[in-house]
Symmetry: C4
Subunit: 255 residues, 4 copies
């Protein structure tokens, strides 16, 4: 079992836009896409299981165990704008090779749904707490740069210097080999903490680009809740590894 796809439902979409948000730096991608899925009431259409994920189940509120997975959600745009596909999930691959295999699965789905554009969402960790949120961007085709001007996006030469690692990067790189346009939108973040503030900034810009409206009213509170939840998860995880990031008074503030 390299990768198992479990089809939940078949939805008829018109050349949708595909938005990836898996766990990564600052959990920015995951926060953004999980929020969009919830607010838009997108429908789960595919579950992806793989031996490249960590070999474990996660336990929910009711003591029910769920095999680690990624999920694809679909949203039909009733107002004439673009239909959307979302890629969300618990984890990314634990192995280097698995990232390639899984991304090819994600792109197979893109081709099946005749996806015309991919947005991948990530965090760009700069190593210090930012005073003011900002967003940077990378594309897999220079012709895409023009349409990103006019939004609240900074363009920085050769940044991130270490490239973009994981699904957010590979969907652009492997997508280009398949002729699929891809844009990576990165919330600049410390890299130390889960960063819902950076996620909000990314959502605002993404919604402008997609011309959709998302309730922001609920967002601040949910961001706080999510932060609490994920911080607990991270604490548990890091405690085991002896790698807990302690509160550091030198930080100007906590997001």
């Amino acid at each position: 079992m390299d990768v198992i796809r479990r089809e939940i439902e078949k939805v008829d979409l018109k050349s949708p836009i595909y938005i990836e948000g898996l766990p990564g730096v600052g959990y920015v991608g995951k926060l953004v896409v999980d929020h969009l899925i919830k607010e838009l009431h997108a429908k789960k259409i595919i579950e992806i299981y793989s031996k490249y994920f960590p070999p474990q189940v996660l336990i929910d509120n009711n003591s029910v165990a769920h095999l680690v997975k990624n999920e694809v959600y679909a949203w039909k745009n009733d107002k004439g704008g673009d239909d959307l596909l979302f890629l969300a999930g618990d984890f990314q691959s634990v192995s280097s090779e698995g990232h390639y295999e899984l991304t090819n699965t994600y792109l197979d789905i893109a081709e099946e749904y005749n996806v015309k554009r991919i947005y991948t969402i990530g965090g760009y960790g700069v190593g210090y707490i930012l005073e003011k949120p900002s967003i940077i961007c990378a594309v897999n085709n220079e012709s895409l740069l023009d349409e990103l001007k006019g939004y609240n996006i900074e363009f920085k030469k050769e940044e991130p210097g270490g490239g973009i690692v994981g699904a957010a990067g590979l969907m652009l790189g492997l997508g280009a080999l398949r002729g699929i346009e891809g844009i990576c939108i990165m919330g600049v973040t410390s890299g130390y903490l889960v960063d819902p503030k950076s996620a909000q900034e990314v959502i605002k810009t993404l919604c402008q680009i997609l011309d959709i409206e998302i309730s922001l009213e609920d967002l601040e509170k949910r961001a706080e809740d999510m932060e609490e939840i994920i911080k607990k998860l991270k604490e548990a995880e890091y405690t085991a590894k002896g790698a807990v990031k302690e509160k550091d008074e030198s930080f100007g503030y906590y997001i």
Copy 2:
């Protein structure tokens, strides 16, 4: 050779219950299942060898080398209750991907024997020595929760926070994909030491659930013996890694 199954004997069982107990946190699962196999005089029916196990043999009392393996044992219930299958062994997979491959082998066996229910046994390491043994539980189907009420089992939201890693978790997760009911019973344990006391607690509860009787007379002594043996094994192992857990006076007592 990904996985080699060596069939020792074919036994006719009636939709047995399948109980997994491989090495893991506190050796709880292994202690429980090895004890049940011995007390019930269950018959070995399958040996499983795999390149996902450590590349080594173990040496017994007579200087005979045995390839690292997992084993399946069968027990026919003469009193009209459920027949039992047991999964026991020396090690779990050394690689993340191997856990998935091996668990699929374990579940193939489940399907061949028309298993109606899986119990996986593990330890839940909390990081401190417990005053009083306790047991928690996870299921792979919410409908199973009801029948677990009335036993000495605590239900805790989202615990273990880090999920259940290895065969105990994956047999639930991958089992659900095959439509097999699964319950994981975890003895709460420090996680620092082999914990036969926690294993005894789990055995008592498991025997109530299964409605079987197991000699407990012998158990306390065997638990002590087992503890001695495995402690020696662990010492040898940890010494090599410079990771010996020294006696810590702050512990209230030693289990």
Copy 3:
């Protein structure tokens, strides 16, 4: 997708000489081959993508993401000397097994182009800053040693003591199994720093061997530029790993 070859152009070459220069000790191989490709205006003919490379894209000056890759360039020699093939790229394999798989791809290309000789370029890290650049050499067939005499190359018994790791070594070793002659030219280098000075020394000797002329005028400056660029890359990389090599006053000078 183990390895993906993307053919850019088919070029007609006459039993070319194949020169490998991928990232490695002191970046010597990469500096040498990237310089030769640029100065000779060699044409890119093949791109190689693989799951054995790091799972990421790199970002260029224009915020365009490029999937990590290796590349083959061709150069037709108009003056009657040998045609050349170059192997260049961003990274080597991240896994031990991947080195073997990728090298077999490199050698498949060699056979398709009827390559008569391979030169692999690398750095030999000695652990201290050298006063005077020097070059050592290894061959995959003792009969090749004679023709290397008379050049500025030292022969040292059993050096490098640790062998030659990665593509530079495997192309000789696996090449020999296919009957392809191979010579590894190593610039002796500290191993601590990117070393364009050692690369220059290797280029001079290689050009003598190949009887080609390469502008050296531009080289010193480009070496300095390259050093600056790659040092930044390395800093970013090492910072993340907490493995930055700090300036050490005991070094006589910086190359």
Copy 4:
């Protein structure tokens, strides 16, 4: 290329005994088998290359690069005793799974040559310098124990406590699954240093068992030479890893 077998020569042997000695604890196995091959002038019949070996070449006295490999040698016994096959080489697998794959190759060769018995040679590291050399033993079939009595071999319950790792162990374990008898002879050694003294002790006993005569005159000196050579190799290797074992005055003597 998982494993490549290169047949050098076909030799007609009569149910030979197969003796494995690859690098491992104290280099005991390698020292023993390399000495036997040299003294008996055994003929190389097979070379084994594999992606499971380190991805590198080794450099000899003449600057010739050799791909890392394992080798099988054959020796016909003209005096009516058993013919011998030897398994020697530069390295063992770098991955856990590779040990299984390679051992299956070694055993395929055993079956092709109708091998009737395997001896694997290893070192048993006890963590301190021994005053007096000793040998322990493990078998893959209890019936083999009897014939080992009367030799200078100690039998110790459950030792080595950590089992026997790598080819020396797996050839017994996987060999048993194929019905091939196997005995592992281990020279007890500190585990810190290459140990030709322990190797000599093993050779003496092995020659008694096999009823062959090996020049011992040359042995002491060659052991010293070998020790010098391999110590240098190890130093180079360990220096790179920052894991050099410094001279320790508490050692009573150096072997």
